[in-house]
């Protein structure tokens, strides 16, 4: 995920990490955030979101902060924030390269 061992993040991965930047989030809130942020360009299927949350937890990019009934809330870790920043830098570099080439 931005690092040499993970490779670049896919769009759903990137936006899921992005959703945690300002506050802790649960699954439904993440889906709403991504759809709102991307104006429905990026859709987050429930299977994809469930898998990503579990994967990010395993990789310690997010941690569970609260369990309320069926709702689980997560928080971005420093490692997760670093992975997000790394990916953001990669994307910025991509855009810069593209724009430079178009001039």
């Amino acid at each position: 995920m931005g690092s040499k061992e993970r490779g670049p993040l896919t769009e759903p991965m990137f936006y899921v990490l992005m959703s945690f930047l300002k506050r802790d989030m649960c699954g439904t809130e993440i889906t709403e955030f991504v759809e709102r942020k991307t104006r429905d360009r990026v859709r987050l299927g429930p299977g994809t979101l469930y898998t990503l949350l579990a994967k990010f937890q395993e990789e310690k990019l997010i941690v569970e902060t609260q369990v309320e009934g069926r709702k689980r809330t997560y928080r971005l870790t420093d490692k997760g924030r670093a992975a997000y920043q790394e990916e953001l830098e990669r994307l910025r570099a991509c855009v810069a390269d593209g724009e430079e080439e178009e001039k």
Partner: protein, 390 residues
């Protein structure tokens, strides 16, 4: 109240697209997925529905629902239906456009994790193969073929040939089912990553597992009976109705005081894959330290009874027994005697020191060997009674 009905799953358990398509087909016939039991899938009878199904591979073998997963799916308009063989959570929706997975990389990751789990599960299957085949393995396969040719019934029943053959066949089918499943799982992952959708998933492979389980079930029952000591069930001689040496030689005849040589019980056993059998023997009194009165010279009665599954097996066994010769009694060939007393076949052989009788009643064969100077055929009615009373 809706009714439950079950079907053999005709699709390999790791072939996710084919399983989803099969469940969709069943729902369109009014059978909504409920749960699985081994190779069977249980359905609730409902009104026919055009549903889209999705099987979400579980992270590990699962017995319980995952509340977070269900909440996410329900939030996206899916309905949770149950767990498929501890491997998948089953969801369905009326929305044909709904997508459970919107990121091919993430789905490929799920499939790869599931593939690795099942690959590791192969170790358990391998251990099962080794344990079963080692447990029932006949000592020598070349000798086995020789014995099977000349004494098929004795060989099949006495040398674990039936459980071994069933284990070999059942495990081969289970292994093949597992291997084909892994190949299909791998292909599905490649299709997901390449964005290809196979036009029509293959619906096959499920019968392999169903047949293998059907074949291995009696082997499992046999193991269960062995391990819990349920294969041996002796009972007292008194009241058994068995012919005894005292009955032949007279009530004052001295019998050996050793319980091994003068059984006061009937040895009796039965297993799911073997015939029910009885054994009893008695010797006249002899002294271990007196060479002039040895075990091989005193009167002796030995009775072996076997009840086979079908009468034709018993007929074949009669033939096998009639071709054997007990040199202790210097027996000659067997002669056929007139049947009667409810017996279907009676064979007798006389020797210098004793005689042997082989009797068949339906699917039960009795062999009585006797050393002494009495005529065993005089007790045919008693042997017939014995067999009737078993």
């Amino acid at each position: 109240m809706s009714k439950t009905c079950c079907r053999v799953t005709p699709v390999n358990g790791y072939d996710i697209p084919a399983l989803e398509q099969w469940l969709e087909g069943m729902a369109s016939k009014g059978l909504l997925f409920s749960m699985t039991a081994g190779p069977l899938t249980l359905f609730q009878q409902d009104t026919p529905q055009a549903l889209q199904f999705h099987l979400e591979p579980a992270r590990d073998k699962t017995y319980d629902d995952d509340p977070e997963l269900n909440a996410l799916y329900e939030g996206a308009g899916w309905r949770y239906l149950g767990i498929f063989r501890k491997n998948y959570y089953v969801f369905a929706t009326e929305n044909r456009e709904a997508q459970a997975h919107t990121d091919p990389d993430t789905l490929a990751y799920v499939l790869n994790r599931f593939f690795k789990q099942k690959l590791l599960g192969g170790i358990g299957l391998l251990l099962g193969n080794f344990f079963l085949l080692a447990f029932f393995r006949p000592n020598s396969l070349s000798n086995l073929l020789y014995w099977l040719r000349w004494f098929p019934v004795e060989t099949l029943y006495a040398r674990n040939v039936i459980p071994f053959a069933l284990s070999l066949t059942g495990l081969a089918l289970a292994d093949l089912s597992w291997l084909l499943g892994l190949i299909r799982l791998r292909k599905h992952r490649i299709e997901v990553l390449s964005g290809e959708t196979p036009p029509r998933p293959r619906r096959s492979g499920g019968w392999l597992l169903a047949v293998s389980i059907l074949i291995l079930l009696p082997v499992g029952a046999q193991l269960f009976v062995y391990f819990f000591g349920m294969d041996y069930d002796p009972y007292p001689l008194e009241g058994s109705g068995f012919v005894t040496l005292s009955e032949i030689e007279g009530v004052d005849f001295p019998l050996s005081g050793d319980q091994f040589y003068n059984m006061d019980y009937i040895s009796h056993g039965d297993t799911p894959l073997g015939p029910e059998h009885w054994y009893f023997q008695q010797y006249g009194s002899f002294r271990h330290d007196d060479n002039s009165v040895s075990l091989n010279k005193v009167p002796h009665l030995e009775i072996r009874i076997t009840r086979y599954l079908l009468p034709f097996i018993a007929v074949q066994r009669m033939d096998e027994l009639s071709r054997t010769h007990d040199y202790d009694y210097s027996l000659g060939g067997y002669e056929k005697l007139t049947s009667g007393l409810g017996l279907d076949q009676v064979l007798a052989s006389c020797g210098e020191t004793g005689m042997s009788l082989i009797l068949r009643r339906g699917n039960t064969v009795l062999q009585a060997e006797y050393r002494g100077d009495k005529d065993l055929t005089e007790y045919l009615d008693r042997f017939a009674q014995m067999m009737e009373g078993l």
